[in-house]
Amino acid sequence: MRRLQFHPCGNFNESYKEELTIFETDFGRLSMLIGLFLLFAVVPFISNAYILYVMNMIGIYAIAAIGLNILIGYTGQISLGHGAFFGVGAYSAAILATKASCPFLIAVPVAGLITALVGMAFGLPSARLKHLYLCIATLAGQFILEYVFVQWESLTGGAAGISIPTTTIFGIDLGSDRVFFFLIFICFTVMTWMAVNLIRTKYGRAFIAIRDNDQAAEGMGIPIFLYKLLAFAISSFYAGFAGALFAYYMISITPEPFNLWLSIEYIAMIIIGGLGSIPGSVFGTIFIITLSEILSHATQFLMNISPSIGGAITIAPLREFVYGLAIVLFIIFEPKGLAEVWRIVRSSFRLWPFSY
């Protein structure tokens, strides 16, 4: 039997295989198992409906945020259209479910694939464009997709949107938050596992090479346009998949949520969480969603204690302000995000009492 390992005090890798391991120590593997056990066996049974709702939102948004992090954090292609891709997934699933009466198990992955195709179409400009030009191109993509959601009424139902009938999966009714919790977090676990492993493959290393220096990457024989398109496709697949789950969870969808603000929210998540870090995307999602819930509660609270003032002054815009402030402060003071904070906390435990 192998000896159980705790954290080494530094980087002592002797082979590439060691460097590629996901868990540096058995302690990490153990804590992940405990975490999964808590997530699936304890949390859904002790939380009330509201907590379950928030958890479900975190799960859905985290899948899309991981996708965006593959594109921005690992491949270095800035996209301001992720919210619209999320919407494409939601609409595809809704249309498949209502018009083609697809079952849930087919509609969700197919919605992801459709979104991947749309994402690739909007990734085409990356053949010639870099950095800020690409960023503007995806911004235009966001507006064009929003327009399509509203105007293509025969398919998307226009501003009224689409309602999805409740579905069943293996004979279980998908009506309740708790059933959805299991569904979302099984998807979340699988998608996270895929993303973590994707980064360790040839493709993931190619993405990182393109991010770090595209000319050098080309020189090493990576067909960078194909890989950029692949990154767009994978990232949009994640967004579409999450969007499809969102559509089923929300039951009815309208074009409103999928605006530029949502795209910015996603970028805020991965910047606050940490660019180029899968756990970071999850941290960022938890941070943003919790923040937004706290702020909306604060708004309600203020309205309740003083209806006369609360009616006149709404503090809802403060939510935007706090988001913006969080982004700005993280970029200036901790550009690597919460993932880095988490690493520092861990290593200061490890190095105690000789921390430096």
């Binding site: 921005i72 270095g76 800035i78 085409l124 400009p125 010639r128 464009l129 950095h131 800020l132 030009y133 960023c135 503007i136 191109a137 911004l139 235009a140 993509g141 507006f143 064009i144 327009y147 509203v150 105007q151 595209d214 000319q215 080309e218 960078i224 530029l260 910015i264 970028i267 805020a268 910047i271 660019l275 002054i313 709404t314 503090i315 809802a316 815009p317 403060l318 939510r319 935007e320 302000f321 706090v322 988001y323 913006g324 402030l325 969080a326 982004i327 700005v328 970029i331 200036i332 550009p335």
Partner: protein, 292 residues
């Protein structure tokens, strides 16, 4: 035909407005290569500052105008000093995201203070400014915009051509290390370019407020329209910004007038995608040849 001229006039004036807005954008990009997503919000700040000074504090219009310009000029300095300067030399995405963060922050703050309502300035433009060409009427606001815009364009032209600070700014835009080695204070140039850009933003925000009324959402969405304009004209060309603004303005009003009003909002972005595919550096932009 009358309809055509009416659309032409409103298209040209809208285009001029876009050009004015794009000017500040190009200014920042030219000297510090920062893509400013907070552009619309800076415009809104200018518009609201003028509103507060002119309508609420009841200062004389000219004084209010000058105070607004001075206020926004200092705001530009402050933004550069506290938010942009720590990021000199950082990756592009962080700088872009910083301006996005600033944009959300400013927007939230303004929504908090002023709400989502539409305000309007007291009427101060003389009636005599309204011009008539046969049946076609050119509202006084457009004439005033045109005149003020031309004056400022002329001033900027002189500033960049003859004043020493203007020449420093151009030298930094051209080659930063070379400018630094010749003794140009690069950080001061960055600060100055943000200050001037904020000033130009304020001006275009005020004009926008006079024409459409002042609303946080409205004005800041114009800030996003700047992107098609500058991409069409070339990101670092002032002449391109003006021409691009006029083209996009005309395109928008003609699409709205003849094809469909809902397509009007989206047509600049469709053009933007096409241009990026065909000629990414725009009409007058500097072509950087970098093949990968």
């Amino acid at each position: 035909m009358e309809f055509f001229f009416q659309i032409l006039i409103s298209g040209l004036s809208l285009g001029f407005l876009y050009a004015l807005a794009a000017l500040g954008f190009v200014m920042i990009f030219k000297s510090s290569s920062v893509l400013n997503f907070a552009h619309g919000e800076l415009m809104a700040i200018g518009a609201f500052l003028f509103l507060v000074l002119s309508a609420w504090a009841k200062l004389p219009i000219v004084l209010a105008f000058l105070l607004t310009l001075a206020g926004c000029f200092s705001l530009g300095f402050i933004i550069e000093r506290f938010f942009l300067r720590p990021l000199i030399g950082e990756a592009l995405i962080e700088v872009i995201m910083l301006t996005v963060g600033l944009a959300i922050m400013f927007k939230g703050l303004m929504l908090f203070i002023f709400g989502g309502d539409i305000y309007s300035y007291p009427k101060f433009l003389p009636k005599a400014l309204t011009m008539h060409w046969g049946a076609v009427e050119v509202p006084g606001v457009y004439v005033a915009t045109f005149v003020v815009g031309l004056i400022f364009l002329g001033l900027f032209g002189f500033f960049f051509k003859y004043s020493s600070q203007g020449i420093y700014m151009r030298s930094v835009a051209d080659n930063q290390p070379a400018a630094m080695s010749l003794g140009v204070h690069v950080r001061r140039v960055f600060a100055l370019s943000w200050a001037i850009a904020a000033l130009v933003c304020a001006m275009s925000g005020i004009v926008l407020g006079i024409i459409f009324g002042i609303n946080v959402h409205e004005v800041s969405s114009i800030g996003l329209k700047v992107f098609p304009v500058v991409i069409l004209g070339g990101l670092d060309s002032i002449g391109g910004a003006i021409l691009g603004g006029l083209i996009i303005g005309l395109l928008e009003t003609f699409t709205g007038g003849y094809i469909s009003t809902s397509l009007r909002e989206i047509i600049p972005y469709i053009v933007l995608i096409l241009i990026l595919m065909i000629k990414p550096y725009g009409l007058f932009g500097l072509v950087e040849i970098e093949r990968v």
